[in-house]
Structure formats: structure tokens, C-alpha cells
Symmetry: D3
């Protein structure tokens, strides 16, 4: 399978010579990490769903998002950038993560990510359930210090425990805040909706350092205003963008574990992401794609495009944040 | 299975101790009607679809909505209310309704509902097809007199006959109007769209006491204006809210019998419902969920959340309307 | 199966006497072309998908759209017209098109369409993949001269070659422009989105005579403005409306071959079409419905309603354009 | 659409000239009844499912079986016969049957079938639920006197009443026996399985004139023996073959209303049918195909092939039974 | 909801008065455990799938099997027994099992089962993944001593560790054998097929006390012989029957986690179970139903019928084994 | 991703260390061709379906079969062989095949296969539609001379032309016979069923050098006899095994383009393949998997196991045939 080369970077397989339905499905048909000498952005799968509280299956998320990424083309007109020319992007495969012990899994993820970051400048993670955000933030905090999280999700994910477990897909940002990984007061949730356990969920979330822009705001407030709020909120801190695909309405993303009606459209989400240009993004994840509940790959396609916009944002940053 | 108790009401099973995928699926994992002493709001299934003109299957609607309700949590941040604390809500199970004779079915529903209302203050009905609205309105009219119907639907449901049948899922509001059950001039349809049989359908509908806010208005007119129109329209009459799930676009609610493109988003519908605070709601239904056509429970989830908002509205009313 | 007759036109089968789920599924349950004496608008299937680059299956599109059209009723309240009364509309069946040779298929389509147009004033085509637009434009250009194309699609469809093939579903409008079939400078794409191969794709597209209104504009610009732009763009040229169903977001139209997130809602698309009243529409197509990827017919329903709006627009034109 | 003509009969559309995915889907792409002068066997749809006790949807059965019949070719090697050459077979479309009243529906079916039989020698019915067997047997009894039923089904269908209804899909053969339509002692059920209400179900069934060969026998007894039993049982009475598609295991026929595990394979069923050569078959039905529960048309395909074998059996009878 | 009472036992809801699609779905519409005074056989759900190595989702198994059990009727003609008359069978609901820690889950299951067995003579478990067999066998061994396991499965489930975990769905019978819970030399696997890790898998399995009858034998050896082998193998030990639904071919049971082609038909499995009459069955499970991969409930239906046959076998035992 | 190494061959990724749902899905998680020095058997994808006459989509077949192969383990107990130890098996990826011209595609396949065979001793092909068998046989004939084809299929695939096209998925074996590629009189079809166009189809097929064992024989004749017939038929000629997955009944393989009821079970097919030990197999294909019509991967799983048995047969041959 020949690959496009331009400006020194190895790009996707040429779709006019190899059909999009042929070949091993790396993300966007990019080269594997081991097939390029250097890597600016590694796309890394974390097939893990043992922290899921309702519909499991996000362990098949990375495979599904890769399949959904085969239609991606190299030029992003929305941001006027060809990300795979600007950056060497590669598919670093999947981490091998213990499915039977959350504790061991956290260790596997921390070690695996450290390993990948030794030879790749930045990583975008394909989940997996949202549990993985905690070990990722631990690793990134070691390198970048406190991090401002821009979090797209139907849920706060700052709950405390569930069945006695402190680390699940409902708790990563509480644990991260408690561990001092976050720039408190500089984090924001977008797309929150649905019932909560208690009114206190919101005040506790605020104490942990987050502000909330609910999904209902997306239809009422101009997106430019929301984008301004995000920029003001994160200030100049290193930014981590975490996209739980359930931020989309179930009509756009049925293939997920804890769907909530009343969500964003895919056009809204992609538009908001495109509005984040210039933020110093040090890492990102796209999580909670559970393909057993997907139909015609629509969830996977949305997740693949979200990933593509995130890579494009990285390509537009003058310098890699340190 | 232990249940939360707060302020004297028995609430849902505690999801941090019993996983949401465990236990018999009552609505929102609330207690069964027979397991509580009193009941402010009974959720009552009416598994009946013999009045359906196209895709049948709403007989499996109550079961499906209950399954979709397992993710509901007790606090509603959109309305700042914990409805299961404020009210004793319980699942009254399903009525046994004759599937082979519409006439017998109507009798079964009237008798069954009367029976439930002897020990429950209000009832929210899970359909079933829209035929059930007629016997429900008959029962409620006996208690409350003329009723203002706030009707979310793709269709008017004021047709006359079909194959000689006067009582089907396309006729409940014509029959109700003819029988004097409605506050004529105080009823409203929202979300109407799609072709009609004749221009006269609209004028006849108006004669029966309804005004129409079509689905196309939802994207053009500010929702505050629509909400003001609803309030003005219903005046101070007792209100019945009827939600045919096909008011949603088929992209959000594929699991229904007569889908029409061009509908509402789930965010729009939930937002409009939240705007009805303070109306004297004496009853409500959520109908036409046909799970054989659903995917990944997205229709069921939307219907469950609609039901939850309706219960929340009831919880916000100072007094139960009489 | 009896048919309604009004003002001399044979309309759909009467749904109050023959259930919508009974009878051979002609489009909107209209008469077959051979069962009426004359025909103002023929609905013609072109089951062909050999020009497809990714997910095939649009060969089953015409059958699927017909199935989705059974719920259409005769009066269009959005445009206040009863199109089947105003016009004699009939279902001309499907062309027999060679599935194994694109060149032979193009000939089959040109010949078949010429044949149908000998006895039908206008044709609306149910695809099939977008390849079919080229032979259709050839035939229409012979009758009407240069044509202004109003093109709803996620993709430009003005690429050059793919695997050496010059005629595929990604190239019809480039070939049409090169062949002089189009009114250059009077064509417009609406709903474009997703990554491209190259920044040059856009400038080349412009050189071929098109302007672009991307999908992102649909959420930002008032539709009245977009409609004014369309009218200004097409001027007084004969208009061909081409609707690739993938202009809708995959949440509304999963059943298609090259889905792109971030698309239009079905309400937006139907609303825009209704805004085209008065344009001199000489033909139209609805393409790329691939039912193997559809769910609960939602894509087919959307395509059927699009077709219905196109027929309604034709019914509102004082005179048939010549 | 040209049609093959051979030996005076109009056969299916030629698949080497018109692809199987093109054209209106009559059964086996045969001519419509109104397009041929005479008809030896009419294939007649009865889209009716208001007698269904569990999963409805067989109203879409005729359409589904026709779609599944498009792959049928004209020569049957299993029986060495070209049925469409030997007989003029045509698609008589669907009866219009009242969906809201079982009593009216029975009348519609009796009248409709009488009408079709005035110009067609024999009829094979595509259901619809099994309720339709009763009015069919009434009509046939008027012409042929007592009838021996060869009944393939998971269920006896000789129950008495259900919710007070005497005519449903669970009762046709009890009613037929009580009305004297059957050759008592000459009827047989094949493929019966699953739990019953009571041990008496079997003795009552025997009293009504049936013997039972359960599904478990199909794997234990040589099919030649079973075929001999059938022949012995029916004697020389006119034979009606009724095939409820749920005689197949749900693995082969998921698209049905009351599935029972432990059923026949499609190979077994088709083989048994081919063994019925020479029986004086005066009519037949294929019922209970509910496509909302089907997958990839596998149930529809099985039903289409069953229909094809039944037509082939008719083609092999020297004389039409009178 | 009224219930049938006969011979003192409370049976299923009467389906001629309450449609099968109405009411909370207890197994076979039997009473809940808390609604009857005593219980001979409790049907107990164990919604747990954290021991799954491939496709998760068996946590939704109990709910799914209950839904599939609604068509079960009270008389079993295959075994000539009315099990719900002979025995008081009740639905004991689901255990609350920790989804985040296998160790805690094992404890939850042991404690929960002990609790249920205090007031129910025997238990049939609806899984859940196969991990649950280990704690069940521990509890039963405490009461009955060494147990002969009759194990229907595609897989041996005697592997050692996976990712360092000793207790997963691939290891219960190795652990049980090592812990001395089994009657070594008296256990048997039926339906085994598919590739293994190593030839040693078989000899180690034999060392652990099992013999193997592979799936291929089912088509080659008369089932009477296989049944004789089972009886000979288990001798007079107390018998535990464990049915992994993947013993069925994926065509009959797609809804499972580790499917293997080449399996049993549902008719074969039900027939073999019916052949186990008289064995002293002290407990049983039906596991690995993962409804996210099911279609039209066919897997759930098969599992429900398996459960029904197991209950029927218990009803035919003269005395409850002690 | 570490790989097992044994006896010098690189085997599959170790599933006890890397979960089966992680990593790029090569066939059976084997190494890619470029990652091993030598290759005894290359598994090669041919994603091509432009020769399909009905349901397209086999272009996604190779990807689908690879996904279905992730559960394969290294030891085959049915044949007592560890094929990946005995042989170096590797995944050679997919050929890039022109989807828009059958003629160019044939050239692509011939050239591509020649290229792969320069460094791999044998090739097993994952289709793609059955068209690909012709260019494969051309290449193999150049190396091995006349070839005996053992062909498992529902269809003869010896038709002549379709729409004027001589090379489609219905004609490969006619063309191959005409071109002298086959050992005439030594080829055999197994599993044939369903209607044909004409009685002459069979005699022409015989003239081309084939004998037929229909699907109906599989249930009537002992498989040992069928296997003896195969051996006798092929004599000592080099054998090519071609498995069209539609040889399975649609219940076992819904995901295919031209399904025919009455087919083989997966157990029968796998058993027959295991009976071919010792035949000098020079190549093989597994074709016509169309995943858009599959459910829960059951077709893909069956195809993956078929491929595994074919590799195992190759591993059991003492010498590679020349």
C-alpha cells in the first residue's frame, strides 16, 4: 500500500489508488507508528470498558472509530488546514489493558501512555470508557503541570464512588481534581443534561473546579459567546479536550453506554470544536463509543470527525505546548 | 431490593447499590403501586395498538419506556426539583386491554383508569397507540369537566373515520371534542407537519377547538413565544398533556408507527415541556412508542425523559388541580 | 385497487379504503405510468450503484423510497397545494440499467429517459447513486439548453477521476460542466461539509461554475437569506434540483453510501425546498439512498418527503418551463 | 418491462435484461393479474394482522414475501418442473381488509377471495396472520366440500377463545372444524412444539380431526415415513396446505409473531413440501411473516421459496382438482 | 394482575385475560418470590459480565431471558408435565452484584445465593457470564458435597488465567475442580467446538475431571447414546446443569459473547435436556445471553425455553435431592 | 504488540496478554506479510464486488472476515493440528482493485496475486464476490496446470452472460472451463440448491466438467460417502477449494448477496472441510461475505472458521503441491 508523502510527512493511503474499503484500517488510513520515523501526533486506542456502569462495549470503540475514519480526506476546509501535511500523524495501535482489574488497567494505561509519549509529541486517545481520562491526566500533569479540561459530555463525571469503586467512568474528573492534576477554576463542562442524583452534584462539581454549560444553552446562546466563555475559562493553561460521544444526542450517537436525550447535534459539536483554534492543546480523548449499539457506523463517523477536528486544531498551533 | 426513602416518599432503587441493569424494570425503578401506601402520581401502562393504521407494535411501548427509564436519576436540574421526593410516584403496572375489539378495549381502559384513580391522585399513561387518549379524556372529564389539551404530535388526530371505524389512533381528539370533553378553543397542537388529506382537515380541526403550531415554527419562532401562546391558549382550564412520540423527528424517534420527517429534536421537546411550569396538569400520556422499529432504545429513552419532565411539572404545582 | 379521481387526474389509492400497507408500492400509491393516459410528472427509478466509491446499495434506493412514500397524503399544507390534483403524476417504474458497465449504463439511462420524456412532461428521478445526474443533464440540456443546478449534498461531486474512471458518483457535475451542459456561474451547492482532498478542490469547483453554501452556514445564516442567494444565483435559467440524501446528517439519513457528520436536519432540508417556489424546475433527482444501511425506513421517509416537496414545487409553477 | 413468454404463458421478467432489483416487486416478478388474460394460479396478498396475540406486523408480510421472491428463477430442479411455463401464474395484488374489526375483515376476505376465484383457478395466499385461514377455508369448502388440511406450524391453532374473541390467529382450525369445513380425521399438523396451556389441548385437537407430528419427530423419523403418513392421512380429499412460517426455527425465521425454538430447518421444510407431489392441492397459504422482526430478509426468502414449492406442486398435478 | 392457582401453587398470569405483552416481565409471568409464601424453585437473575473476555453485555441477560419467557405456557408436552402446578416456581429477582470488582462480585453472589436458598428449595440462575458458576458451585457444594456438572457449552471453561486473573468466565470449572467442589470423573462437557490454545487444553481438562462430547458428535451419534453416556458419567452424584447459550450455533444464538460456528441447533439442545429426566438436579444456570447482539429475541427465546425444560426436569423428580 | 514464536514461525498475538478486541485486526491476529521473512500461506483480501448481480457489499468482506477471526485460537482439535506452528501464515493485506471496471479489476487481481505468490507459497483469498475466482484460477493454472475445483456454493456459477457481461460473479467457472484452466471431469459443486433458469443449466454445467451434490443430499447421504465422492472426483489433480459463504443457509449466513434457503448448517460445512485432509490444495477462496446484511458477525465468524479449516488442511499436507 503506497502512501502519500508531502513535505516530508507520510500521509494517508491515496484513495484514488487504493479504495477506502481496502487495507488495514488504521485511523484515517495513516501510517502505523512503527512505520514512520517520528510522530507529532499519535492516535492511540485504549480498548477498555470495565469502568462502565450501564451498557458496556466501549472496548470495541477504537476499532469502530478507525473504521469510521476511512472516509476522512486530507484537507479540512472548515479550518483551512491539511493536518497530515503539517504534522506527522500516525496510528500507534492499541494499548493492551487488563479488562479484569481496574487498578491494573490504570497502571497499564499510565505505563503505556508514558511509553508512547517517549517518541510521540502528542497523543489523541480513542476510548474506551471515560475511566481512561484519569491515568491520562496523571501522565500529562507530570509533563505539563495543572491542566485546564474542556469537557464535552452529557454527564459531569465528577461523582464520588459507585459500588465502593473510586475509579470508574463516572469519576475521573473528581479524582483528577482531588489529586491536583487540574487547573481548578479553569475547567468547563459543555453539553451537560439529564437528571442528576442531587442538587449538591452541581455545587460539588463547582468546588472541584468546573463550570457548566448545559446542552440546553447550545440552542439558546450564540456559539460565539460559548466559545468566548471557554477561552476565558481556560486562560493560558495547557488544555486537555475530552469528548464523551454521548454529548451528542442519541439520534446522532446511539452507540454509547449511557445515552441522554436532549443533546447536541453533530454540526454543533464539530462547529464548537473548530472554534477552539489557538488553545494550547496538549492532549485529547474521544471516548464512550460502544459499537454494539451503533447503527450504520453513525456514532463511529461522528467520533472519527471529532478526532479529525482535534488533530486539525493541533496542526494550527504555532508551537507544541510544553 | 432496598429503596430510598426521603421525606416519607419511597423513591427509586439506589443505583449505587443495585446496578441499573438489575431488578424488575418499573418506571424509573420506582416502587410498584401495590408496594406503597399512597400515590400522588401513578405511571400506568396501556399496552394497546389495535387502533394503529400503519406500523403496529405500540403494545410493547410501556415495557420499552420502562426499560428506557432505568437511567433516570432523582434530581431534575432543568426544573430544579426532585420529583420523587416531592411526590409519591409509583408504577401501577399495565392495564389488561382487549386486543381484538376496540370497543371492548375502550371499556377496559375507562374501567381500569377509574380503578387506578380511586387510589392515585394523578396518572401519567404510557401508550399504546393514541386511541387511548379518548377513554382517558372521558374519565378525566367526569372528574374535572372540560379539559384543555396540549398536544405534541406530527398529526392532528382529528380525522373522522377510517375503514368505517370511528375510534382509532387518528381520531381521539375529534371524538373527544364531539363528546364535549374538551375546552373548545383552548386546545393546541404542536409539532404538526407532513401532508394532509385535504385543506379542510385544518379548518375542521379548528372547528373542533384546536389551534396549530406546526413543526416548522419550532425552528423559526422563539420558544418563549410559543410557550406564551400555549399558556394563553389553555387559560385556566385543567390541562391534559398528550405527547405522541412521533412529534420528534424520525432521527430521534424511529420507533413509532407513522413517522414524519421534519420533526422536533429531543432537546426542543424537552425544553418546551420544561416551559409548561405552573399549568394545572391533571393528566398526561406518552404514546406511540413501537420498539420493534426502535434502535438502541433511543425512542424509549426520549419517551422516558418526556415522562420524567411531565412528572416534574406535576411536582412543581403547588396544589393538585381538582 | 380503485384510485381517486379529481379534476381529471388520477390520484393515489384512497387510504381510507385500502390500507397503506396493502397494494403494490408505487410512489405515493399513485397510478403506474401505463395506467394513465397522460403524465405531467413521471417518477422514475434508476436502480444503479456501480459508480459508488464506498458503501454500495443505492441500487435498492428506488424500491426503498417508494416504500417510504406510502404515508404521503395528497394535500401539502406547507405549500398549500394538492400536487396530485394539479398535476397528473405517475410512477414510470424503473429503468433497466446495466450494472456491470458504467458506459453502457450511461447509454441505458440516456435512452430510457428520452423514452419516458416522450410521453411525460417532466421527470423526477429516484436514484441510484449520483452518477445518474450526468446522463440526465445531457438529456435535459438537449431540450432546455444550459441548466442551473441547485445541488443539495455533503460533497461537491466535481472531482475528476477515481481509479482512472471519469464517470462515477463523485464526478457528475464536473463532467456536466466540461460538456457545457450547465449555466456556469449559476449553479450552487448547499450542505457541503467534511474534509476535502485539497484546497484546490474548492477553486476548481468554482471554476466549473458553482458556488458553495456549506452545511455550517445552515445553522448560522437565516434561511431566507440562503433562499435569496439561491434565487439570485440561478437567475432565470432552467433549474435542475439534485438532492443527495447525504446532505442530511447521518442521524437523519444513515442509509447512504458516504455519510458525513455535521449535516442538515430533515426539517431544514424540507424547509429550504419549500422556499424554492416559482423556480422553473425542469427536472430533479433524489439519490444515494442505500437501504441496507437504513433503519426503520427513516432515510427512505426523508427521501420520499423530499420527492413530494419537489413535485409540489412543480405543481406551483404556472407553466411548465420549455 | 418486457416479460418472457413461453408456451403461451407470461412468465417472470427476464433477469438478464432487467436486474432483479429493478421494477415493481410482484411475486417472482410475474405479471400482475390484470395484465394477463387468464390465470391458473393467483398469488394473493392478505395484509391483515389484527388477530395477532403477541408481536404484530404480519400486515407487512405480503410486501415482504414479494421482496424476498425476486431471486426466484423459473426452473425448479428439486421437482424438475418449470411452474411458470406449465401454469399461468400471476400476482393478484392485495385484498383491502379492514384492520379495525375482525368481523368486517372476515367478510372482506371471503368476498375478495370469491372475486379472485371467479377468474383464477387456484389461489395461494400470502399472509397476514393465521386468522385468514378461516375465511379462506369457508370459501374453498363452498366449492370443494370437506377439506384435508396439511398444516405446518409451531402451534395447533385450535384454541377456543382469547379475550372473548372466537376468531383470532390462534383459532382458525377449531372454528373451521366446528363449522364442518374440514375432512375430520384427515387433517394433520406438522412441526408442533413448545409448551401448551393444558394436556387437554392435544385431546381436543384430536377431537377436532387433527393428528400431530411434532417438530421433534423431524430429527428422529425419516422424512419418507412422515410423507407417507401425510398421504395416508389426507386420503383422497381435496388438500389445503397451510404454512405458518413459525414452523421454522427462529434461527431461520426470526420475522414472525410467536416464535418457538426447536423448529424445522428451511431445508427440512422445503424437502417435506417437495414430497407432497400428486396431492390434490386446491389452495394454500404462507402466513405470519412479520418483517419488522426479520433480518436481511431471511424469513421473507424462506416464505418466498415455500410459495414457489407450492406453485410447483400445483404445476405437477395432472388436472386441477374440482 | 390476577394469577392462576392450581393445587395450591400460584402459577403464571392467565394469558387469556392479561395479554402476554402486558405486565412486569417476571420469568414466565410467574409470581415474584416475595408474593408467594414458599418456593420450590426460584429463578434468580445474576446480571454480571465483568468476567467477559470478548463481547460484553451479559449483564442484560436476565432481563432479556425474562422478556423471552413471556410466551411460555404452563404445560410441557415434551415431558408431559405442568411444572408450575407441580412446583411452586417464583421469580426471585436479581442479585445486586458489584460490577467493578470480580472478587467483590463473587462474595455478593455467594451471599445472595445463600440468602435465597434459605427460603427456596432450588435455584435456577439466569446469567450473567459464566464466571457466576464458581460461586454457585461453592454454595451448592456446602449443601450437597461433590457435584457432577453436566455442562453444555462451546468452550471448556477450564482455562487457568487470563491477564493474571484467576476467576473469569473462562475458568469457573478449573477453579471449582481445584477447590474440590466437583465429583471428579463425573463431569461432562457437551457441544465443545472451535479451536483451542493447545492440545494440552484437552488433557488438562480431563485431569480436572471432565469428559468431552464435542458438537460434531451431535450430528454423528444418536442422541440416545449421548444421553446414556451422560447418565453413566454422572452416576448418582448430585447434578448441576450449566448451559452456556453459546452451545447453540450463532445462527440460533447470535446474542452471546464468544460465538463459535458449528454448534447445536435449538431442537437438539432442547431434546437433549428433555432426555435428562430423573437426574438429581440440585441447581442449574443459563448463561452468556448478551442481548445487544441478539436479533428479534431469538437468543432470549432459546434461553427461556432451556430454563423451562430445566424447571420441568425438576418437576419430574420424585424428591428434591438433599 | 508481542507475537508468539514457536518453531521459528511467528504466530498470533498472545490473547492472554493482549485482549482479542485490541490491535489492528489482521486475520487471526497473525503478523502482516511484511513483518515476517517468509510465508507459507498468505491470507489475501480482495475487496471487490462490482460483479455482483443482487445485493452488493462484498467489498467489505475481507475486513469483516478479519474481524470475525479474532476469536480463533492456535490449536485445531478437529484436525489435531496447530496450523500456525506448522506453517508460517501471514496476512498479506488487501489488493487494490479497480471498482469501476471489471476488466481492469481482473488485471489488478492477476497482477496482484502473481506479486504475492512470488514470496508466499500459497494464498487463501478473502472475497469479494465470486468474480475473483476466474483471475485466481488463471494465475494458478499457469503454475499448476489443470485444476480440480471443489466448489461449495448455493449456485453453479457457470452461467454465460448477464447484461452482456461475460465476467461476473455468476460466471467464473464457465469462463475458467472454457479457458482450459480446469481439470474437466474432476470438478464438483456441493450445496447447490434453489431454482435455476432452465433444465439446461445442469447439462451445460456437466459439459463444463462439473458434477453436482445438491444441498438436499447433505441431509440424506452420510457425509463419509460425500467425502469419498469428492476424493474420487478430484483424483490426483491439484485442488482449488472455493467456498461461497451462501452455501450456508441464510439462517447461518445472512450476510451475503444472493441468499438461498435450504442450505447447509455451519457444522456440516466445517465437518465436510475437515474431511478433505490430504487433498493437494494449491489455493482456496472464501467469498461473498457482505457484512451490511450480517448480524452480530455470524456470517463473518463462519467465514473465518472456514478459512481456518482451509489453513489447517494445508498444514496437514506433507508437501506443498507443485
Amino acid at each position: 500500500m503506497p502512501a502519500n508523502e508531502s513535505e516530508g510527512n507520510v500521509g494517508p493511503v491515496d484513495a484514488t489508488k487504493v479504495p477506502r474499503f481496502a487495507g488495514l484500517p488504521t485511523f484515517a488510513r495513516l501510517p502505523r507508528r512503527e512505520d514512520v520515523d517520528r510522530c507529532d501526533v499519535a492516535v492511540l486506542g485504549m480498548p477498555f470498558d470495565s469502568g462502565t456502569s450501564y451498557r458496556p462495549g466501549a472496548r470495541f470503540g477504537p476499532e469502530s472509530i478507525r473504521a469510521g475514519s476511512r472516509l476522512l480526506r486530507p484537507y479540512n476546509p472548515g479550518l483551512d488546514v491539511s493536518p497530515f501535511e503539517t504534522l506527522q500523524v500516525a496510528d500507534a495501535g492499541d494499548l493492551a489493558i487488563n479488562p479484569f482489574s481496574i487498578d491494573d488497567a490504570i497502571t497499564d494505561i499510565e505505563n503505556g501512555l508514558e511509553h508512547v509519549l517517549q517518541t510521540s509529541t502528542r497523543v489523541i486517545t480513542l476510548g474506551g470508557d471515560h475511566t481512561i481520562a484519569l491515568p491520562i491526566l496523571r501522565v500529562l500533569n507530570r509533563r505539563h503541570g495543572p491542566i485546564a479540561v474542556v469537557h464535552f459530555d452529557a454527564h459531569l463525571d465528577t461523582w464520588d464512588t459507585y459500588f465502593g469503586a473510586r475509579i470508574t467512568h463516572g469519576t475521573p474528573f473528581r479524582r483528577a481534581s482531588e489529586e491536583g492534576l487540574l487547573a481548578r477554576g479553569n475547567c468547563i463542562h459543555l453539553g451537560i443534561r439529564g437528571p442528576l442524583y442531587d442538587r449538591l452534584d452541581l455545587s460539588r462539581d463547582s468546588d472541584l473546579g468546573f463550570m457548566v454549560r448545559p446542552a440546553s444553552a447550545m440552542g439558546e446562546v450564540h456559539h460565539d459567546q460559548i466559545l468566548a466563555e471557554i477561552r476565558h475559562r481556560v486562560g493560558s493553561w495547557p488544555v486537555y479536550v475530552s469528548v464523551d460521544i454521548d454529548v451528542l444526542d442519541p439520534g446522532f450517537a446511539p452507540g454509547t453506554g449511557t445515552p441522554e436525550p436532549g443533546g447536541l447535534t453533530s454540526r454543533e459539536l464539530l462547529g464548537l470544536l473548530r472554534g477552539l483554534t489557538g488553545l494550547p492543546i496538549i492532549g485529547a480523548d474521544v471516548v464512550e463509543v460502544a459499537p454494539a449499539y451503533d447503527h450504520a457506523e453513525i456514532t463511529a463517523l461522528a467520533a472519527a470527525h471529532v478526532t479529525y477536528e482535534l488533530i486539525s486544531l493541533m496542526a494550527l498551533q504555532a508551537d507544541v505546548p510544553l
